[in-house]
């Protein structure tokens, strides 16, 4: 039964990732990856990248907005969407409790932030999944907000950028979460058929149902360095198959070599690169604001 130990291990992996993702506390702190002691400000001023080993620490949705979009250009589409517990799901603890914990600790109502803003002057639809909120998993609200983002961008003829880090579909909403894969993919396809650009950015980790839906449907797919990118997690596969995994399996670098992403872009170049891609994908070259001509 290949699925038996499957997600046990994915969770384990996911939690490790979560532990490692946060920039460590204190004025001086030890990088959780390379173990070096670093002045914390040096990490924060370096796009949350360890100056010693180059590890890209996780970012909140807010931090992503700050880092990628033009100052003050972002306005969130703050629909009154809150997660619900449609199945009355009770596992080791009730879903409702997990939700409320997540809401409390993150100060967010869900794992997703969507809205519109500008990148290097270009108006874009923007969505980001925050790993801190139940591992960036996709339930009904995440699916709905991503779908609305693509629909709005299609009707306003705007490009879309998403940044995801996610453990996959959210188990606690059962098959409703699975359906969010279909829903988001369908809205991306509408956007695609309207001839509009979609750039998908995969941060550490991107797995499961998010990778297997909208995040893989970008015209251009960018990975952050050394991110874990895969459908099933590496240990699961190792245990299921009882074979050694190839070196670097499911890292950004390996995924690039296997033809699945367009490029690996370190975080300090991300804004510049996305800006150039957006303007490069419009038929007439322009450093001017494409969005301005439209909206």
């Amino acid at each position: 039964m290949p699925f038996t130990d499957w997600l046990k291990n994915r969770t384990q992996k996911t939690q490790e990732a979560a532990n490692k993702r946060a920039v460590p506390d204190g004025i001086w702190s030890k990088c959780t990856i390379c173990g070096k002691t670093i002045f914390q400000k040096d990490i924060l001023n370096n796009f949350h990248v360890c100056p010693e080993c180059g590890h890209h620490f996780g970012l909140s949705g807010h931090e992503r907005v700050m880092m990628l979009l033009d100052d003050g250009s972002f306005s969130a589409t703050e629909e009154d969407l809150w997660p619900k517990d449609p199945l009355g799901f009770i596992g080791s603890k009730p879903y409702r409790q997990s939700l409320n914990n997540a809401i409390e600790t993150t100060g967010r109502r869900e794992a997703v932030t969507t809205g519109f803003g500008r990148i290097k002057g270009n108006k874009v639809g923007f969505g980001v999944l925050d790993f801190r909120f139940i591992a960036g998993s996709m339930g009904s609200v995440v699916g709905e907000k991503i779908a609305r983002l693509f629909e709005a961008a299609t009707s306003e003829r705007l490009p879309v950028i998403t940044v995801v880090s996610s453990g996959g579909a959210r188990m606690q909403e059962g098959v409703l979460s699975l359906m969010q894969m279909a829903k988001t993919a369908a809205t991306v396809e509408q956007h695609n058929q309207a001839g509009l650009p979609y750039i998908s950015i995969l941060a550490n980790p991107t797995t499961g149902g998010v990778l297997a839906s909208f995040a893989s449907l970008g015209d251009i797919i960018i990975a952050e360095p050394k991110a874990l990118i895969g459908f099933a997690g590496p240990r699961v596969i190792e245990q299921t198959l009882d074979e050694k995994l190839p070196k670097g399996f499911q890292t950004s670098e390996s995924v690039l070599n296997h033809g699945m992403v367009d490029m690996i872009v370190p975080r300090d170049e991300l804004r510049e690169t996305v800006g150039r891609l957006i303007s490069g994908l419009s038929p007439v070259s322009s450093d001017q604001n494409l969005g301005d001509q439209v909206v």
Binding site: P2, M179, E189, N192, Q193, A212, L217, I237
Partner: protein
Amino acid sequence: MSRRYYIDFERPVVEMEDQLEELKKLPEAHKPDIIKEIKFLEDQITKLKKRVYKNLTAWQQVQMSRHPDRPDFVRYLDLIFDDFIELHGDRTYGDDLAVIGGLAKLGEQNIVVVGQEKGKDTHDRLRRNFGMPHPEGYRKAIRLFKLAGKFNLPLITIIDTPGAFAGVGAEERGQAQVIAKCLSTLSSLPTPTIAVNIGEGGSGGALAFGVCDRVFMLENAYYSVITPEGCAAILWQDKEKAPEAAEALALTAKKLLKMGIVDGVIKEPLGGAHRDPKSTAGKIGEILKKTLGDLLSKPVDELVALRYERVRQFGVFSDRQESEIIT
């Protein structure tokens, strides 16, 4: 003990059925004496079966969906469709035997049928990777989806997979991307589409064949974001809790019908589809024909728009924070 495979909870039924068989095997001479006993036993069996099978738990249904004797896609292919011509290959890398597809007739209607095949015996199951496609299988499916789209042939997909495959090659050749591509392709395919889940509907692997105008499930099939075992391993760190997980996941046909995820549940014979594959196939065929008749009466553009609406409305959310539970 019976040589037939049975699930734990089926034991009383199987034992009684074995007794009946024994009785029936007695030499002709004895028959008149036991004819009443046979009749009695038959009645008992019917009653017992009703008791055992009428109210299966979610986990028992999952077990039924995986029953080794359960009819596979190939069996139904034979029983439901005519003139099947198999088409092979993804034109890119390989021919994945976990996916079977081709041209066929449903009644007088030409169609394309594509399904997941678990295999009929151990040898067959191995070469079909137990119904878990590799990327080339999804890619073959996409090729056939598009063939259906090009020629305006109705597409019928058959779902029966534990899910995507946790393997190095499947990952390296991009199973996540190709599943995503299945979803987007089906979402806009310009032809009528119907999915039937005949057994296991495991996560993204199942959904890859499931973005259709209509989705039906056999009574004992399940459809889930994750297998009960996987869910149990995460939530309780104990896969023995799979029955609880199965309940929590709301993965049965009945519940999914109530939630509006599927459009219809196809009844199975008491004891499961494998007890009468022909009648099960008959019912599937009937509902396919009826549904196809409906779909074909609509212009394709409208179908595609309605299909979009269909997936678009999935999801349950609130306009305010749900009240905190008492902790």
